[in-house]
Symmetry: none
DNA sequence: CATGAATGAGCATTCATTCAT
DNA sequence: AATGAATGAATGCTCATTCAT
């Protein structure tokens, strides 16, 4: 077996540069917050020449979008897998929350962009990839409605609720001293499936 | 009968200026998005001299914070009233969602700040007032736990879920052609109280 | 008698700054040529802060235009005076050329912008003021046509010819070791009035 | 029979590239104006790689010069022919103007470089070729002075006047709705030969 | 307390040019 | 000879902020 697609030195450099910029951006965003970050900050951390940056992205917005899309792109296949291996809506919701909180815990750094900011300004970008991800969830819901597994509810609102819960709980989760994705997923799942009075009881160990 | 609290001409001017700045800011933020707005833009719309601005606020962050706090300050008393007149947790949740979605519908403009942005960048600022508002909700929950009205669940996560649901559903609501705060409140309430299978059935009239 | 319009310190500064910028620009343009000059070069020579420049002009084009207009504005009244005191077209042409070449000789510097450039790039800006000046000449011609002093010729072309002659001869004049505006004016006038065979004979003294 | 000067494939490519660059430059200059045009713009329109450009010219100045020279080089032989076939100075002047205005009408595009510019900045480059062309005219004049056909006038000024008339009238000509090189040539010729009162009368057809 | 011009640090961006491939 | 990504100096310009009036 041999390398199917040999990569020239030029191609390699380009790949590396793109990667460098993304990494630098991730760090700077996490450090300074999105609003305070300037293109120059990213370039500085990159070590590349300023002109080079513009061969890859043309604004910090574009880098940020790439970063967000990157995250979403990693999640969506898992979400699709969740969907396939779940036997019913309950299971899908459970798996999806689990997937999301696990991912969050592992890539904590990217998502801390949100924090740090002096005035704690939170930023979220609805990139095409993210919107597509949300829509996918919505479609799953509609499929289940069609199949009679879910009552004919407002699928957009249900999706929104799921997303909102994931975001806010996820946000609190990564601020806690020790990350417990399972706990967060259980909480979110139960709430969506059965409402607050079915929520897991908090044992002493979980109190701070 | 006389004016209980006579206001000097100077005081009045100060009040007016503060108000002008806030209004100008609200409009500019809604128009340009938070990120793209500069202090200059706000000043320009104000008609005041640039130096004057700094007698009131010292950055766009501060104005934005004031704007957000303003909203929160208007909501919190209502939330407290909701709390008082509610006989149980269920009622409180219902009233709180209702209050929030009604407010959102009435002050749609301020909240559209979030939108508009070319790259659809969403900005949210966790001002002290907002955090306090969230904490208040959390305390209500804990009170109810202590009183045995609510099982001893993770109050922070429950609060986060409620907030997340309110935000995301609220967000979708104001994007819909006709605003229906009742519908949104019913949806959110039922989800939190009994889970998704109890959600209101979508009638034909609601489908597009 | 007293100063009718006392000028505050602020006004004075503004006047001075405008003047400084214009002077700096004139020098830099003369030194580097129009094309090679950058706004920063002008600012540098000015000594003012960079932002200050933009309070007065918003590009080098605008400064250049101001400079050109400035020259034209100084000439036009004299041209009008020439017109008034001339008893016929011949006299007007003679006086006008004379006025122009005199001005050129006195303000040689501004017009040397044109020169110096490595590739000897010549630049001319048709500012509104200049166009107006040309049109004025044209109108004088048309007036004379109406009055029967000049045959009904193509006034635009005649104006163009006069302008072209003035420019090119003027250009050669300021490059000569010693400026002789009278000689240039005589030459141009005779050519326009009677054609080349009536041109003044060049004496030995004038040959180089 | 065989090709007298066989051209290798390499030579052909080089010729093509040179041609491409010149054509691209002509278009870009006409579109953007000289000042606003960058080497990049030219390269982009060319389709060649940026490095390739530098194998042929080393700046936009050089390309512009080549472009101007190109025009001059096409005119000069015709001017020389005019000279030869003219029996006297009058005829030469007439033919020369005619040649120039015809050329202008046919290559209108190149000369519109001058126009277009937002601030109506007019650019003229005195390339060696152009200077040589002007000098040639001057030499013809001096020859005629030596031969006694023309009185001993200031040949530089006369040449300058002819050039100035050609330029300014030419400029107006190409701005007119329908190009009439004959009319322009007649006008210019008569002015130089006999002065303004001999100028062709403008018939009604020519008035707008 | 209002005013608004001056300030200059700092930013985004472009661009001519080089040079390894 | 052609290519096109990398380079980094340099530019135009904005902006928050100050402070004399």
């Amino acid at each position: 077996m041999h390398s199917v697609k040999p990569i020239g030195k030029r191609e390699q450099t380009k790949l590396n540069n793109r990667e460098s910029i993304l990494n630098a951006a991730r760090e700077v965003f996490a450090e300074l917050g999105y609003g305070a970050t300037t293109v120059r900050d990213i370039i500085r951390k990159t070590g590349l020449a300023s002109g080079t940056f513009y061969n890859y992205y043309k604004s910090k917005e574009e880098v940020f979008e790439a970063l967000m899309d990157d995250g979403m792109r990693r999640i969506r296949p898992r979400l699709k897998a969740d969907r396939i291996r779940s036997r019913n809506f309950e299971e899908f919701i459970r798996n999806a929350f689990r997937t999301y909180f696990d991912y969050l815990a592992s890539d904590r750094m990217t998502f801390q962009i949100i924090r740090r900011n002096p005035a704690s300004l939170r930023v979220r970008m609805d990139t095409p990839e993210m919107i597509a991800g949300f829509e996918e969830i919505r479609e799953y819901i509609e499929e289940d409605i069609r199949d009679g597994n879910v009552p004919p509810v407002d699928s957009e609102y249900l999706m929104a609720a799921v997303v909102g819960i994931a975001m806010e709980i996820g946000d609190r989760m990564i601020k806690r001293p020790e990350l417990n994705a399972t706990e967060a997923a259980d909480f979110a799942t139960t709430l969506v499936l059965h409402g607050f009075h079915a929520l897991p009881i908090k044992t002493d160990a979980q109190q701070k």
